[in-house]
Structures are given as structure tokens and as C-alpha cells.
Amino acid sequence: MNLIRPLTEDYSDYLRDESRTLGYADTISFVKTEEDIVEVVKYCYENGILINIQGARTGLAGGASPLGGHVLNVSRMTKITGMRYDPKADCYYLTVQPGVLLSQVRKALENKAFDIAGWSQESIDVLSKIKPGELFFSPDPTETTASIGGMAACNASGARSFLYGSTRVHIHALRVVLADGSVTVLERGVHKAHGRDFVLPLEGGGEFVGRLPDFDTPHTKDAGFYFRDDMDLVDLFMGSQGTLGIISELEISLMPAPKIMWGATTFLPSDEAGLKFIRAVRGEEIPGVPVFKHKPASLEFFNKNALEMILKQKEITTAFSQLLEIPENFNCAVYTEFNDADPESFLPILKELAQVVVACDGDLDRTWVAKDARELEKLIFFRHTVPETVDMLVDENKKNEPCITLLSTDMSVEDKDFEKLYHLYKSTLEKTNLHWVIFGHSGENHFHPNIMARNKEEFEQGHAIFKEWAKEVSKMGGTITAEHGAGKIKRELALIMYGEENMAKIKAFKQTLDPKNLLSPGNIIS
């Protein structure tokens, strides 16, 4: 078996991912084609070897960090293999291998610069009709070096999911290698369950007949498993983090790129003003605030600790030297981004937004505006500095205590419980001596509280807090992971959310597709 090699010291990087979870494994393969995947999977299946799947390892929940057996790494499957236009849906699609990076797709679309070697004439003809920057793939997890396969596997969302939805809805078709090495090809709208019964057509003839668990997974935009009556079978493999199959090719749907992207970061005098501003910009009716009618692409919140943390890090990290200077006496900040098809929409929307800022006790002089995509990079850089700094601090703390990993949550609730969730986080954390920040996607009610544990006790305390929150969020009918997937770090929380009974059903369901229980050990299922 040429593809499989021992996972020696040289490959130790492949035992961890961005979550700082360190795993273990005996062997690794760097597959380049679907045939390679099939070959490795068949070998592992015959020999009862666990298979851990890796893309770009940018995940924040340990989904790509292995738990014994073999590491199947798809990071060398980086080809964009074709383009298609469907006149009925008036939609363009791009076919990509799972290791293709988000940044690669973005750059190729922006500059219309594709490596067309091996493309069909039909694909080349479709490509010839599009202009640079005309089309756009909307999912935007913070890390642009994420792989498309990984984003689909954990159903990643990001700041702009508020407007465009999570990765799931932008994946049109899939090729998936199942646990025994057979391959199924699925297209959204074509291959659907009938009630709870479903059939996966297999390449080369044959089919897999199955039945979905008899409960609906909570929340519609959550990461994790997705079970519904009559569901699209593509969605079976979105969010299930490699536990049911290995994605070997994806067809992603593209949309017309917005003609203008602009944004504003406003500094507000209190958390209450910040939360009120967020509700107002979401278009809710609030007494004393003009109704705002334009849906933002994203709405990001930064609490005082988060702002103080990056101010401090700016002094130390030269890469942050070009960070904008924060106005004095801040309490919190909210970043609002707009994507629009009409380039003339900037000023009218800005004027309306200004009224909302004032009505929420904001100050127009303390509101930064980026009026185009170029200037927006400064605001996005500012936003990204927060998780980057958290990563740096976790790495620093990990030097003293190796067990420490990222302690970040992405729980989400319905709109009505928005303030309740924020105050649950804040009041719990304020009672501790932990180093913590709250930031993130406030548009969809998922803030990211992050705890930077400095020792083992704090790390354990953080975990215990997360478990308490998971119980509270489950009671509110929310999801314990709205963005990153449960991976390994949050599987205990997944158990709290699904409950013992439903978790047993998930396990039994996985067993039907993966009878030897080899795929993605430790992800989601406990």
C-alpha cells in the first residue's frame, strides 16, 4: 500500500488542528484523487483501521485532529475541475476537489484565473462567458485558508451567513466515498429522502438503502447532523464531520457578486446600547429608533474585554501595527457590513444607519466607515485580530500547560433569547477570575465567548462553564454549535443537546453506513 506511510516525527503537525487539540495516529496518506481515497478506505475497511479525515486543519473544534489509526489527508486535492451553468436555475456552479481552499476559490473568481488543464470544453466555454469578479462564493468562515471540503463537513458559517446562510445551502452536489469504499453521487433537489427512507445510488450500480433517525435535529442553521423528512441527501454529509462518509468532490453554487460592499464599526457607550443597536439594525421595531429596512450581510459584536485585549496585543505584535486606533472611552463596538447590487445605495443606507446610531446613543464621530471593499479590509482585519489574538494567547498559555486548548463556544438561540444569552455569558464570566472576551456573530445570536485559560484549573473551570451553558441553551431550544461543528472538543456538549436517547439513535444510524465504526472517530458522537 504505497499511499499509506508511517506517521513519523516529520508529520507530527498533522496530529493537531487550529483548535490546538493534539491527537495521535499510526499512519498518514496524502491522497490526490478520488481513486486514492477509495484505495485507502478499502484497505482500512478490510483491516479494521480507524480513518481520520483532514482538510486544511483550520477547524476550531478538533474535528481534524486524529484519534488513532490512519490520517487521510485531502489537502493535496486542490484542483478546481470545472464550471457549469444551469439556465433553468440561472446559476453557475464550480466543481472542486475537497482540499481546495476558500482563498483559492475567491482569488480564482476575482481574477478569473483558473488552471483549466483537464477541463472539459463545455467548462471552458462557460468560463469564457464570465468576467473577473462577476461571481462570488458567499460562505466566509473567518479563516480563508479553510478547505471547501472541511467547510462542508462542519457546515461552517461566518460573519456573512447572516445574509447568505451557512455553507450547506451553497453546496449543490457531492461525490462521497462511503466506509466500504463505494462511491455515491448526490445532487441537491434530485436525490431526496422519502419521509425518513432514503436511497444512496452507488457508482458502478447498486444502491444503499437506509432510514433516517426518527427525530429532527434542533435549529436549522446549526452544525452537526441534519435529519428531516424528505430532506436533500446532500445535507446528510453537511455538518456530520466525516462520520458518515468522505467527501471526494463538491459542486459549489456561485452567485452574482455584490456591486458594492461597505461597512461601519460603531463604538457604543454600554452593552445595552450595543444589543439595542444590533436588534435595530436587524430591522426590529424598537421604541424611539427609526425602523431600519436594509438587511446587513453581517453584524459583529466586540465587548470591552475584546477591545482591550487587541489594544494590548497591538503593542506587542508588529503584524497588528496597522490596526486602526480605537477611540477613547469605549465600552463595546458593533461592525455592520452591507453587500448590495446597487452601487448608488451607499449614501441613502448610510444616512438611515446614522439615524439608528444616534437613536442608540452612538456617536457619528466615533463610527468608522469603510465605503468600499478596499477600505472594508481594514475593518475586517480589525475583526479578525480578535480571534488571532485569542489563538496567540492560547499558544502562549499552552507552553505552561500542554492540556490547554482553545475554549471558544458558538452556541446560538432564537432571536427572542438574544439578550438572555449574552447576559448568561457575561454574568457567569464576571463572577470568575478568568481571562475572557465575548465577540462574534451577533446577527444570528451567536456570540463567541472565549476563555484564555492560564492553567489546568482554569481550563477545567472553562469546560464546566461551557457544560452549564449548553444545558441552558438547550432549554432555550438553541444549538450548542452554530458554526464550528462539535468535533471532539464539543462532543460532550453535543450529548447535552441531543440527549442520551437521540445520541443512541445517531450511533445506530451511523452504524448502518459505517458498520465497522471506522470513520472520524470521536467526532460529534460520544
Partner: protein, 265 residues
């Protein structure tokens, strides 16, 4: 006391594409922006305004659309904006540009301090700032990384040189060109944009200025562009194969063939 910032509109890319037939720059689909170095000049002027209470103005030369970047400067906090726009200014090289800007500076009543970006990203000459200072008869310091002190009479700057930094003191009125170390350019405030999106930009044509028309535009430009082309940069890669010893021998041979090392024996 007044500070004038000279700014230029440039294509928003440094990957300039040339038309293979005409050898002219393809501008289609490339938006125009304020020259990135000039954004540091604007920011420094605004900081000095806050510190010293001086008036600030932005000055540019170009087509009427350049008013946009002048309004951007006002949204950031620059008080006034002036544009030199006339066919008579067109086709200017660095000398004719500096001459026109000198006429503009005089027209608006001069300044105690003129700030320019170190250079424009579309020409990379870094000539206009120093030429403008010479024409106005004022001292200048280029590549300023920090203004250490400034008052109405003199200033001390830390400037970047090939060998490190120098502290230089000079009398005002004067001109400086600034590099990217000097500050972090901010974004306009919401109030700034609302105040200035339709603010007037004073436009001057050739007859408005006290200048000799023959020294302006193409006629006043001693530089002639004979041909513009992208240098052909190709790098050949050669993979050395074989055992480690064979590869090392092959590498030694290649290096000595190219006279990079002398091979012994």
C-alpha cells in the same frame, strides 16, 4: 498657519497590465484610489491639525473625477480641497506637475508646511515632492518616518535613509514627504462622510494661476516616454536528480559553470 497635502489619484493596483499593441496602460475595470502613500500624508496633516490647530487643505491635479478623492480627504478631516484641472495640465511629467502644484500652492496663499506621500504607486519616481519644494524655494526632508517636534518656526523629523535613520531639523515653511512608518491612516467617520459627500471643491484652470503655460502639461515636460514595456522576467528551474552525492556534484558543476564558485581540483 496652514498645512497643504498634495495628493494624487492612481489606479488601485500595482499589477499594471499593458496593452500588447499600443503599450499603454489598460485602465478598464480598474478603479481609482488615493495614492496609498498620500493617505499617510493626509493622516499626518489631520494629526497636526488636532495638535497645533492649523488649517488643512488638500491639493491635487487631474481630471474632474479627482474631486472624489479630495472629498474623501475632507471626510477624514481636511478642511478645504483644491483641484487643478485643465487640458493645459494634461500629459505632465514630474517637472511640469511640480510646477503646476507650485502655482496651486501660491494661488491658495502658500503654506507653512506641505506634506506629500513619499511617491506615487503608478510612477514610483518620488520626484514631485522635492521638485515642488525647490520651485517654492523652501527646504524639504524626504522619507519622513516621524515628526519628532514642530512649531511655527521649525521642525525635527526622523527620516529613513539607506543606512538607517537620521534626525533632521529644518526651518519652516518647508515640505516633507512621508513613508508608511509615520502613522496608521484612519477611516472617515460617519459624521465626516455626511458633512462632505457634496462639499464644494474649488477648481482652478491654467488662467487662474500665475504660471507660464508653456511650462505646463506635455509642452512643459522634458521627459519623453519612448516605450513602455513589462520587463521579461523568466526563471528557469532545473531539478537535480540522483543520489545525494550525484546531486551535490551536479550542483557544484552548475555553480562553477556560472562562475558563482571556483571548483577546486
Amino acid at each position: 498657519m496652514k498645512i497643504i497635502v498634495c495628493i494624487k489619484q492612481v489606479p488601485a493596483t500595482n499589477e499594471v497590465r499593458l496593452d500588447p499593441v499600443t503599450n499603454t496602460i489598460i485602465r478598464e475595470g480598474i478603479e481609482s484610489i488615493t495614492n496609498p502613500f498620500d493617505t499617510y500624508a493626509i493622516e499626518e496633516a489631520i494629526r497636526l491639525k488636532k495638535k497645533l490647530g492649523w488649517q488643512t487643505a488638500a491639493l491635487s491635479m487631474g481630471i474632474p473625477a479627482v474631486k472624489e478623492i479630495l472629498r474623501d480627504a475632507m471626510a477624514l478631516g481636511i478642511d478645504e480641497a483644491y483641484l487643478l484641472s485643465d487640458r493645459g495640465f494634461a500629459g505632465a511629467d514630474t517637472l511640469a506637475t511640480a510646477y503646476a502644484l507650485a502655482g496651486g500652492v501660491q494661488k491658495v496663499g502658500g503654506a507653512q508646511l506641505i506634506i506629500c506621500g513619499k511617491m506615487a504607486t503608478d510612477g514610483d519616481t518620488a520626484q514631485v515632492g522635492p521638485m515642488l519644494a525647490e520651485m517654492l524655494g523652501v527646504p524639504h526632508i524626504t522619507d519622513v518616518a516621524e515628526i519628532i517636534s514642530i512649531d511655527e518656526k521649525e521642525m525635527v523629523c526622523r527620516k529613513l535613509t539607506d543606512d538607517g535613520y537620521q534626525e533632521v531639523k529644518m526651518q519652516l515653511p518647508a515640505l516633507i514627504t512621508v513613508n508608511k512608518e509615520i502613522n496608521v491612516p484612519g477611516l472617515p467617520s460617519m459624521q465626516g462622510i455626511l458633512n462632505t459627500y457634496d462639499a464644494p471643491v474649488t477648481t482652478y484652470t491654467v488662467p487662474d494661476l500665475d504660471v507660464a503655460p508653456e511650462l505646463l502639461g506635455l509642452a512643459g515636460s522634458p521627459t519623453q516616454v519612448v516605450r513602455t514595456f513589462i520587463p521579461n522576467l523568466t526563471i528557469d528551474n532545473e531539478w537535480l536528480t540522483g543520489t545525494v552525492n550525484q546531486q551535490a556534484d551536479a550542483l557544484l558543476n552548475r555553480l562553477s559553470e556560472h562562475n558563482i564558485i571556483e571548483k577546486e581540483g
